[in-house]
Symmetry: C2
Subunit: 203 residues, 2 copies
DNA sequence: GTCTATAATTTGATAGAC
DNA sequence: GTCTATCAAATTATAGAC
C-alpha cells in the first residue's frame, strides 16, 4: 500500500515483508506473487520469511490480507470523515477511488478482492481472512449510516450496496482502463444513500 | 461451465480443452490453473494443447475468456427473457445467480472476474479479452433497457450498475459463503431499474 | 536473528517418434 | 494429428552455517 507510509530503512523486517506482500497482492494477486519476489521487494533475506511465518505462504497471505484490509478501511474512513455530510462523503469515496486508479495506471484498487476470488474455493484460512475483512468494512460503514438515523438493517444493506458498487467498479475500471464505471457506481451509491436517508427521516 | 452442456466423449479435443479451462478458471483463476491440469480434465494428451494453441497459455486463456463470456451472457439472457417484464427479469437474474452459487458450494460465480483482476496489470492481451467481454455484457443489457424506453445514456449506466452489483455480490458471497449480499444487490438493482423506468415514462 | 545453499516439486514449453 | 519424453526455469520449503 504505497498510500500509507513507505517502508523506511528502519522498519522491522517482519513489517517490511507484510507491506511488500500487500503491494504485490494488490497488483498480481496471491497465486501470482512468489515468496522470493516478496522478500526481494522487502529487501529481506529469503530465510527470514520462514523465520517470521513458519506457516509458509498461507500464513503470510492471511496476515497480509488482514493488514491491508485494516489499512484500506482507515484510508477510506479518513477520506469520508473529512466531508461535511454523508452524501458528500459517499461521493468523495468514489471520486478518491477513481483518482487512485488513474494515478496508479489502474493498478491500485481493492487490496484483497483479487486474493478473495482466487482463494475462495481453494484455501479455507485465506477465504476466512478475506471474509472477516469484508465484514469489518460492512460494519464500519453501517455504523456511519446508523449515525445518520437509519435502522440497523437498512444501514447494513446500504453499506453492502456501497461496497458492492465499489468492488464492481474496480473490476470494470481495471479491465477497461477507464473511469466510466466508477462514475456510474458513485452516482448510484449517492442515489441509494439519498433514498435511504429520505426513508429514515420520513418515518 | 457445468451449466451449459457437459463435455461429451464425441466433443472435439480443442473444444474439450477450452471447456475444461473455463471450468478451472471459474474456480481457481488463470494463474492458479496449470496447463497440465487443463489437459488432464479435458482427457487430452499434453501435446495437444500446444498443437491447438501455439501461443501457449496466454492464447488459450484469451480464448477461454471469450468463450465463457459468451456462454454466460447467453445463460443470463435466456433467464431474463423468460420473465414477463424487465423488473421481474432483473430480480430473476439475481435469484438465479444466488441459486448457482448455493448449489455449487459457492464456486460458480462470474466466469472471468477472477481472471480479469489477476491479469489486468500483468497481461495486456488477456486484459483486453476481459474488457471486451464486459463491454459486450454492458451493451447487451443496455439494449434491453433501451427497449423499455430509456435513453441510450441512462440505459448504459443502468446496465453497468446492474453488472457491478452482481460482480460485487459474487465477491462477497463467495468469501462469506452466504447469500446475504446477493439479496441486497438484487433489491438495489430492482430499485434502480424501477427508478430508471419511472424517469423514462415521466419525460 | 541473519543469510546462503539447496532440496523436492511443479511450471510452461519443446522435440520428435508414430 | 496424437502422444510421450523431456527441458529449463520457477515454485515452496528446509537445513544449517554464521
Amino acid at each position: 500500500m504505497s498510500q500509507l507510509g513507505g517502508s523506511a530503512a528502519t522498519t522491522p523486517t517482519r513489517e517490511r515483508i507484510v507491506e511488500a506482500g500487500a503491494e504485490l497482492f494488490l497488483r498480481q494477486g496471491y497465486v501470482g506473487t512468489g515468496m522470493k519476489q516478496i522478500v526481494t521487494n522487502a529487501s529481506a533475506p529469503f530465510g527470514s520469511v520462514y523465520h517470521f511465518f513458519p506457516g509458509g505462504k498461507e500464513q503470510l497471505g492471511a496476515e497480509v490480507v488482514r493488514w491491508s484490509g485494516a489499512a484500506y478501511a482507515l484510508l477510506v474512513k479518513e477520506a469520508m470523515d473529512a466531508e461535511p455530510d454523508l452524501v458528500t462523503a459517499v461521493e468523495a469515496a468514489f471520486v478518491g477511488a477513481g483518482e487512485a486508479l488513474r494515478t496508479s495506471g489502474y493498478a491500485d484498487a481493492c487490496p484483497i478482492a483479487t486474493v478473495a476470488l482466487e482463494v475462495s474455493s481453494t484455501s479455507e484460512p485465506l477465504r476466512v481472512a478475506c471474509a472477516e475483512v469484508f465484514e469489518s468494512w460492512i460494519q464500519g460503514l453501517a455504523d456511519r449510516y446508523q449515525a445518520e438515523g437509519l435502522g440497523a438493517e437498512a444501514a447494513r444493506t446500504l453499506a453492502q450496496v456501497f461496497l458492492m458498487l465499489l468492488e464492481g467498479a474496480f473490476l470494470f475500471c481495471r479491465a477497461a482502463r477507464s473511469l466510466e464505471a466508477m462514475d456510474a457506481a458513485g452516482a448510484a451509491a449517492v442515489a441509494a444513500t439519498r433514498a435511504g436517508l429520505a426513508a429514515a427521516t420520513s418515518s
